[in-house]
Subunit: 116 residues, 2 copies
DNA sequence: GTAGTTTATCGCTCCACGGTAGTATAGCGA
DNA sequence: TCGCTATACTACCGTGGAGCGATAAACTAC
């Protein structure tokens, strides 16, 4: 019993799920999400932390906004972005665990292989 | 306490996580994964079930194979693919729940809005 | 041997997307 | 009013990847 339902998804649902995964398939966007873990930040702050160009950071942020992962608040000339879908980090944790397991398995297999 | 560790990831780890998400960001690949839920199948069977072209199905399967999500077994002229990373469905379930919550929230907000 | 089946791969077109530069818009201060 | 800053938007280029047809490779049956 692993906890997931193993329910089949309709075609439309499949598309929405794929869309969500696509929003998370860019290292830069993941970096932005992790930078936002300690609370909302402005675009400038995110530019400084991630080392990206302002235009790119702004575009990636709007992608995450459209995906429903981030929220935005404007104050003065600044735009404050925050995470509204905390399940993102659960996803990343699951993937990290899965990748770790695979690497560990490969390592074990390599170590068990007799060197010729 | 939601259960995830909220640990920051290195740049390389971020790339690997993004790569995994990218492998899941295609509806066709998700369809193949869900078709494989009830056990290993040949490419021909998957072509029949998903309605895809053989070349595409084969390519998508090799993407999932390289990502460590699927395993392959060859017997005669047939290739049997199976799921080796069951955590995939946990990921999909999490995303489904998240999407459902968002849609439900949008619906509630819409219903609460007084119609002018 | 030949023919048929199954799978993988190649070449191609087309489209989506990331990165970048430049520009526009809005708010703030002198 | 005139800058200055912060953000968003537009246009362009290059790349990567999906879809498709044709072909190649491996195996089976005759």
């Amino acid at each position: 019993m692993t906890g997931y339902t193993k329910r089949r998804l309709s075609g439309a649902a499949l598309g929405k799920v794929a869309e969500r995964f696509k929003a998370l398939s860019e290292p830069m966007r993941l970096r932005l999400l992790y930078a936002l873990m300690d609370g909302e930040k402005t675009v400038s702050e995110l530019v400084g932390e991630t080392g990206g160009v302002q235009a790119n950071v702004s575009k990636h942020l709007s992608v995450l906004l459209d995906a429903g992962i981030l929220g935005r608040r404007k104050q003065g000339t600044s735009a404050y972005y925050r995470i509204v879908d905390e399940s993102i980090f659960e996803l990343c944790d699951l993937v990290c665990g899965s990748i770790h397991d695979r690497l560990a398995a490969e390592l074990a297999e390599f170590s068990a292989t007799p060197r010729s």
